[in-house]
Amino acid sequence: MDIDLIFKIAGIGILVSVLGQVLTRTGREDMAMLTTLAGLVIVLLMVVNLISQLFNTVKSMFIY
């Protein structure tokens, strides 16, 4: 099981928050909001794959 997914998500989170701060400081609030949104979507896509994997294992294991 690849453990580095966690560090990827944490990295994206920290990066997005730093970028957001920088962008808001330079007066680009809309860009900051967009980068936050982009980060969120990327992380969501990564997690959705994991969720589908969970449901498949549970279904195959508990056979319902």
């Binding site: 099981m1 998500i9 920290i14 997005v16 969120l40 992380v43 994991l50 294992t57 508990f62």
Partner: protein, 128 residues
């Protein structure tokens, strides 16, 4: 060895989630979701062995109908609902968590109705 991996994973994830929570609470929630799924994926091998042993025991004990199958299914349903409910509670949504748990209980009850009926009939036969 497995325990150490589990503990290490949990502690690092909690630490990372904490750093994220101040700036990006939604990222922290996604992080905890990912960690939960990963720990389950690590444990699924052992879990399937346990399920196989339970099924073998069920066959030897010749229980009526799919009792063991139903038992295993109930465990699966309750695990998933508990997983989702705890996640909602982490995100601060106690209300949604309660609804998910209610739904899980109803599902389990609905699935165990046939067993209840079989039990009742058995009891009635005992009474002369």
């Amino acid at each position: 060895m497995d325990a150490i991996v589990l503990v290490g994973l949990g502690v690092t994830a909690a630490l990372l989630a904490l750093t994220l929570r101040s700036q990006r609470p939604e990222m922290a929630m996604l992080l905890s979701l990912a960690v939960g799924l990963m720990i389950f994926a690590m444990l699924s091998g052992k879990l399937s062995e346990i399920v196989e042993v339970m099924r073998a025991l069920g066959d030897t004990a010749a229980l009526p109908g799919g009792t063991i199958l139903l038992l295993v299914r109930v465990v699966g349903v309750s695990y998933i609902t508990e997983f989702a409910a705890q996640l909602c509670r982490d995100a601060g949504e106690g209300g949604i968590a309660a609804k998910v748990e209610l739904g899980g209980r109803l599902l389990v009850l609905g699935m165990s109705i046939p067993i209840l009926i079989a039990l009742m009939q058995m009891m009635l036969e005992l009474i002369p």
